[in-house]
Structure formats: structure tokens, C-alpha cells
């Protein structure tokens, strides 16, 4: 099931080979780079929604979706960042500039890597889920704020211009197709991860009562 979807995504990669880029082959990076970025934002929206739902009614399913979304989102953000840097080097001559988009994407990565760390370090269960939900919500709000701040900051200190994205029709079509496949891949990865989280949760639910039995507790058990 998942393999077929991956082949679809791979098909996209080979399908746009004939569509030649006018600015040199390096430009092709753009298709997967931008698709990954969009997929990543989608994943983090899942984290946001999952977090809000969890805070509202403590649904474990919502929390699992949030966890899955965060992990997959970080993966896609990593793809976006690295591909972007590899595109920047030949085109701009540097791997990095501190413009709004790059900076806020880096912040995005850091925030959700922090989300994953918090989950790992906090007591699993209610505490971790709540904390993470809040981190997820603040993180999602912070990224546009940072983006806006840097854009505003740039107008205070005018600097190098960023790329413009005018697209001829074939490229647009290729991009949209790649985007579609990437989103499908993202959804698949989230679904797989959700299932994994469900199994992990089930495993823990069995483990904890046995822990309580093994180590006798003073007083009545809850």
C-alpha cells in the first residue's frame, strides 16, 4: 500500500526530467524543495490541530496525530533546508542568507525538534502531551511572527534581493504534480507513524499496571 504511493512520488521525480529548466539544471531542486516545505507546513498544521483538540478534550488519538505530524514535519523541513542550501550555493554563491524565509524555516525546524525532545524527556502520558500541545501551538504562531519580523527588519536594513518566482506553464504543471505526490507521501508517512504511536501507547498501557504490581505502593492504588 505505502510502497505503491512511494512509487507514485518517485514517478514524479522521473517525469519532470524531460521538462528542461531554463536557468540551468540546478533549478530543478526547486520542485521537491518547495513541495517539501509545503508538506512540512501541512504536517505542523496537523500538530497544531492535534494539540488544540488534545487540550480541549484529552483525546489520545489527537495527541498521536500531533506526535506523528511533528516527526514527519521535521523530516520534511530538513529536506527543505538542505535542498535549499544546495540550491543556494551555486546560484547565490553562499549556502545561507538571513532573509525571512530561510530564517523562519530554520526557526521552524528548531521549534519542532524541541517539540520532539520535550516529548522524549517529559514523563510519557498526560504531562508530555499537554506540554507538547502548548509547544506546538506557540511554535506554529511563532513562525509567521518571526517571518514577519525579519521581513520588517530587512526593510530597515535594505539588503540583497531574494529570488522571484515567475513560472512558465510546463514548470508549473510539474511543480503541482510533484507537490501532489509529496503531500500524498507526507500523509502516508503520518499515517504510518500514527499507527506506530498507537502500538507504542498500547504497549505502555500494558507495561504500567504491571510496574505498579511489581513495586508495591503504600496506600490504595488509584
Amino acid at each position: 500500500m505505502a510502497v505503491a504511493l512511494m512509487l507514485l512520488a518517485a514517478g514524479a521525480i522521473f517525469l519532470y526530467a524531460p521538462t528542461d529548466a531554463l536557468q540551468g539544471p540546478v533549478q530543478r531542486i526547486f520542485y521537491l524543495h518547495v513541495s517539501s516545505a509545503v508538506a512540512a507546513y501541512g504536517c505542523f498544521a496537523v500538530v497544531l490541530v492535534g494539540g488544540i483538540i488534545y487540550l480541549r478534550n484529552e483525546s489520545p488519538a489527537a495527541d498521536r496525530f500531533a506526535r506523528a505530524g511533528a516527526l514527519v514535519g521535521v523530516v520534511f523541513t530538513s529536506v527543505t533546508l538542505v535542498m535549499g542550501m544546495l540550491w543556494a550555493k551555486p546560484i547565490w554563491g553562499v549556502y545561507w542568507t538571513w532573509d525571512a524565509r530561510l530564517t523562519s524555516t530554520l526557526v521552524l525546524w528548531i521549534i519542532y525538534a524541541g517539540y520532539l525532545l520535550v516529548r522524549r524527556l517529559a514523563e510519557p502520558g498526560r504531562q508530555a502531551a499537554r506540554i507538547a500541545a502548548i509547544v506546538g501551538i506557540f511554535g506554529f504562531v511563532d513562525v509567521p511572527v518571526v517571518h514577519f519580523s525579519v521581513t520588517w527588519w530587512r526593510t530597515q536594513h535594505p539588503g540583497p534581493i531574494v529570488v522571484n518566482d515567475a513560472l512558465p506553464a510546463e514548470m508549473l504543471a510539474t511543480f503541482l504534480f510533484t507537490l501532489g505526490c509529496t503531500l500524498v507521501l507526507a500523509a502516508t508517512l503520518i499515517a504510518i507513524r500514527y499507527r506506530i504511536e498507537t502500538l507504542i501507547d498500547a504497549r505502555q498501557a500494558i507495561a504500567e499496571p504491571t510496574k505498579l504490581v511489581a513495586a508495591p505502593q503504600p496506600g490504595a492504588a488509584p
Binding site: L55, V107, I110, L121, R130, I134, V145, V146, W152, W153
Partner: protein, 220 residues
């Protein structure tokens, strides 16, 4: 219970505790002076580039002092398990949170009272009401966020590692706007009014958000 009373009571308790031990503020003040010293060596400051680099050093020193200060906000509660006791009273968690944020913010402001004159003396930058206003405005938002996340990591392992990781990304907008404000107040290009306006907007945004979140964080 009247929420405002709760806020002030909690703040007063924290500040009084700090006053009795007097450990945090002097330590932070020393830290700040050292930070300025290192900044001088790290950046090779001379009279020409002082006004360009000084704002950066200001924010670096402030951010790290803030992390230390806010990291300790819940230390006492953790050691004495008094947070649970406070939450069992009819006081609203948001009020408790606001009280702690107020106290922590006040402590940071005391550090700023050392930082700004020291910066001015050591680097020759102007020390104006504009600079003070910008720093104070930024402190408000930073305190709200810092204390919220301090509460979040209070019961987590490796909290010293997590607090900067979670808080710094959220402080970035404040450093950006505050940076421009301080720079323009010190004579560099930049729109001071806009920067201050932006700081105010961020303050309002994050005060609202942290107040909403406080309920979920402190309610355990």
C-alpha cells in the same frame, strides 16, 4: 479571590524570597558585566564601532541573563512542592502565573538597571529614555514567555537544556524589534516608532497567548 490581589501576593512572595537570600540579582549583575567584558574582547570594540556592536551585546547579555533568571522562577516551588499547594487554593492559575511573571520580570529589570548604565559607561553609547523604554517593553513579553516555558519544563528532566531551546525561538521577534529600537535610539538607521509599536504588538499578542496557556500548564 480577587485575581489582582493574587497576582500581587505571588509577586511579593517571590520578590521577598529573593530579597532574603539576595543571590540571584547580584549573580546576574556580575554575569552581565562579564558578558560585556567578553563582548569587548570578542568584537574588538573601539570608539568607532562601539555604537554598532553595543546593541547586539545588550541583547545577548539580556537574553542569557533572562534564561538564567526565568530558569530559576520555579526552583523554589519545585523544591518545596508548593506549586500544588498554591493551585489548590481558589486562586486562578492565570493569576498565579501573572504574579510569577511579574516578579521574574522585576528581577530582570533590576539587572537591566545594571546593564544599561554599564553598557553606556563601558562602550560610550548614549543612555536615553528611548533605550530604556525599548528594553522595558521587550522585557514584558520576554518575561511572559520565559515564565510560561519555565513552568512547562519545571517538572521535566534536563530542564536547563530545554528552556533555552523552547524559549529562544519565541524571543526572536523581541530581539529583532528591540534591536532595531535600541539601534535607532543610539543613532543608527532604523525607525524607532515602528520598532516600539512592534514591541507593543508582540507584548499584547504573547501576553494573551501565555495567559490562555497558563491554565493548561499550571493545572496539574
Amino acid at each position: 479571590m480577587n485575581p489582582l490581589r493574587v497576582v500581587l501576593a505571588v509577586a511579593r512572595k517571590d520578590l521577598r524570597a529573593e530579597w532574603r537570600t539576595r543571590e540571584l540579582v547580584p549573580a546576574l549583575a556580575q554575569f552581565i558585566i562579564l558578558a560585556l567584558l567578553i563582548g569587548n574582547f570578542g568584537f574588538q570594540i573601539d570608539s568607532r564601532n562601539a555604537s554598532t556592536i553595543a546593541p547586539g551585546i545588550l541583547w545577548l547579555a539580556l537574553v542569557f541573563a533572562g534564561l538564567v533568571a526565568f530558569g530559576r522562577t520555579f526552583a523554589a516551588e519545585r523544591e518545596q512542592a508548593s506549586l500544588e499547594a498554591m493551585l489548590m487554593t481558589p486562586a486562578s492559575p492565570v493569576a498565579i502565573f501573572a504574579g510569577k511573571a511579574l516578579a521574574a520580570g522585576a528581577l530582570l529589570v533590576m539587572c537591566e538597571a545594571v546593564l544599561l548604565p554599564a553598557l553606556s559607561i563601558l562602550f560610550g553609547t548614549p543612555f536615553s529614555g528611548d533605550v530604556v523604554a525599548a528594553v522595558l517593553l521587550a522585557t514584558v513579553g520576554m518575561a511572559a514567555l520565559g515564565v510560561l516555558f519555565a513552568a512547562i519544563v519545571a517538572r521535566v528532566r534536563a530542564r536547563e537544556l530545554l528552556l533555552p531551546l523552547l524559549t529562544l525561538p519565541l524571543w526572536i521577534p523581541f530581539v529583532i524589534a528591540g534591536g532595531v529600537a535600541v539601534q535607532s535610539a543610539m543613532g543608527l538607521p532604523g525607525n524607532y516608532q515602528q520598532a516600539i509599536g512592534l514591541l507593543l504588538d508582540f507584548d499584547i499578542l504573547f501576553i494573551v497567548l501565555t495567559s490562555l496557556a497558563a491554565r493548561f500548564v499550571l493545572d496539574e
